[in-house]
Symmetry: C2
Subunit: 380 residues, 2 copies
């Protein structure tokens, strides 16, 4: 009887142990599911990378996490490591794919768990020295989408002095798969976005090609606008609209005859009227694109003046959308500092003094101030 009791107690303890493990596993799987949602909630590649490192650290209860991405030729790993729970210290390093545990995993495509790196010949201890960190143990798994290895995900130094176990490794492989999917979606999105911007820029290019005097105008206006925007604390979404509006601001010029665009002498009233129709025509062209509706004001009103003496509507002050006020200043600066059919380029100083002179009448004062800041800091 005694013996039976004793045995069933051992049995019970064992089952208790299994229950505890199962409950711990449930907790971590729930966390994995939560982290997967966070990873996939953005299509910004940089943000996915940041979240991946945080997720690796949190899920693995590790001191540090890192994500190493292969370059296109598969020769180097670009290394982002976050030390500490909140990733307070982020370091960027480049690693030869022939070196280290990460290199081995990236080449072989197999996950690795190393609890005594100093005994593993693959361990590249110079990296610890470079980033000022002591690696005690490490989990390193491939980040793979379909059959393509994008890089590796690492968790370094399990907290509480413990070693990583097989359960950690299997959970970490699941996390890496989620990271791979989120990275790939973000890459696809950003490639498409770039394709859109490039196509919009080509649209501007082909328009410029007809007018030898404006070569590069769109590109410069876009650059100036974005430099100015830095000093105006725009929202990311507004910044995106500003970029598109800058690229497309002169698109309406496609509707103006070659002869007028290229005329080297003074334009007559009829010709000036025709030229002045380009903001409105540009707005009509992009008006056909549902997704560009929010860009229309930037294109349509980039020749309005703060005092209401601009065109096409004669809008005043705050009635002119911010994006259009920024493009107006950038556009004018570029027009002054480049050759025109009717005169040579003027100096930067002349342009700056023109902007100052027009501040508060033709141009928005805040925008001119931001322009001057960007100019004096060398960004323009």
């Amino acid at each position: 009887m005694r013996r039976d009791m004793f045995q069933s107690e051992i049995e019970m303890n064992r089952i208790f142990e299994r229950l505890k493990e199962a409950e711990e596993r449930i907790e971590r799987l729930s966390l994995l599911s939560h982290l997967g949602q966070i990873l996939n909630s953005t299509l910004d590649h940089q943000e996915v990378r940041k979240r991946a490192i945080e997720a690796a650290t949190q899920l693995m209860r590790a001191e540090a996490g890192s994500l190493l991405l292969l370059d296109e030729e598969g020769k180097y790993l670009f290394f982002e490591v976050a030390l500490g729970d909140k990733g307070e210290s982020v370091k960027k390093v480049i690693l030869d794919v022939e070196k280290g545990i990460a290199g081995w995993v990236a080449k072989k495509g197999e996950p690795l768990r190393v609890n005594h790196p100093e005994r593993d010949p693959r361990f590249y201890k110079e990296m610890d020295e470079r980033i000022g960190f002591k690696t005690r143990n490490i989990l390193c798994v491939p980040v793979r989408v379909k059959d393509r290895i994008l890089g590796v995900l690492e968790a370094i130094n399990k907290k509480g002095g413990e070693d990583f176990n097989e359960e950690d490794l299997s959970l970490f492989v699941s996390l890496a798969n989620q990271v791979a999917i989120a990275l790939d979606n973000a890459r696809l999105y950003q490639e498409l976005e770039e394709m859109f911007f490039q196509t919009a820029a080509s649209l501007a290019d082909v328009i410029e090609k007809r007018d030898p005097y404006t070569g590069g105008h769109t590109q410069r206006v876009t650059r100036y606008s974005l430099a100015v925007a830095k000093y105006l604390s725009l929202e990311p979404e507004e910044l995106r609209r500003l970029r598109i509006a800058s690229v497309l601001h002169d698109i309406g010029k496609i509707g103006i005859d070659d002869q007028i665009l290229r005329k080297p002498t003074q334009l007559d009233t009829r010709e000036v009227d025709l030229i002045r129709r380009h903001p409105k025509m540009g707005a009509e062209i992009i008006g056909h694109i549902k997704q560009l509706k929010e860009i229309i004001p930037g294109v349509q009103y980039h020749h309005e003046h703060i005092n209401g003496k601009g065109y096409p509507e004669g809008l005043m002050g705050e009635g002119i959308p911010m994006i259009a006020r920024i493009v107006a200043v950038a556009d004018t600066y570029d027009a002054i500092t480049t050759d025109r059919p009717y005169r040579k380029a003027l100096s930067k100083e002349t342009a700056i003094s023109e902007l100052k002179k027009g501040s508060g009448t033709q141009f928005d004062q805040k925008v001119v101030e931001a322009f001057l800041q960007a100019f004096h800091s060398g960004e323009i």
Copy 2:
């Protein structure tokens, strides 16, 4: 002593029960994580919807799953339901948001578990009649991203005659969150893609605007090309390239002077030479766009002939990329059937007989055959 034994047995059974439940939970959480990966592995909205319904059915061990998406005004739910494990029978229905359990969940934004729908006043039993289905019990949860409700996800009739429990509901809410993220990413991607296509189409439009005779040419060529492609079993990626190449095939015309484009009389040799430069110039323009590299051949070679007598390279047969061969046929058909500066539009019959005449010399035989199939089936 007996009593102790007995008690510890009860205790042990209880722990066993908890362990069994925990292990079952682990299995389902692992499945949830796996389904989340599948959901997020595509940016195709339709595919996400399909996978969401399958995931709902599988994870909930239900007889049917459905996804109901709100329209933009939030008045109707668009209803896709799959009956059976493999979704062999998919039905589409529109439901007033004021009606049914789904409508209530979409409006309230709260999850609902109903095990006796016939006793619930919110239950809309006409729907069962419409789709020929008997609802025994139902889980219905909001699909929400940030603070926006996109719709609701449903699991209907738990298998084995059981009722849905609280655990089912909580797991289902997690799944719905993953569905929401995947749907939102797919929507963002497809909106951006549409913006790209629209911008590319505007680029074509502005070029056409300079030449009154070609109004709508690009749109028609794109439509014809895609109709032809149906009979040539292209890969989805090739289809996408064909669409872009069709839209941009004449983009090089931007570099040709207005006077030549609009000239109503016969062109001289120099003018013909200039016009013939447009495929090459188009290729150069899109050559600046990294993401459009694969489209170049479609633009550059749409005036090549199968017998090598086309331009700019004089490529022959299979040496001409398939996309270019398709655009060539679509382009010619449209040129014949519309007014030109130098002649009125000719009949469809004339165009068809021209294509047949050129089949195997100017045009790819397979493409002409596909064109004829599309033509006779009324798609062109």
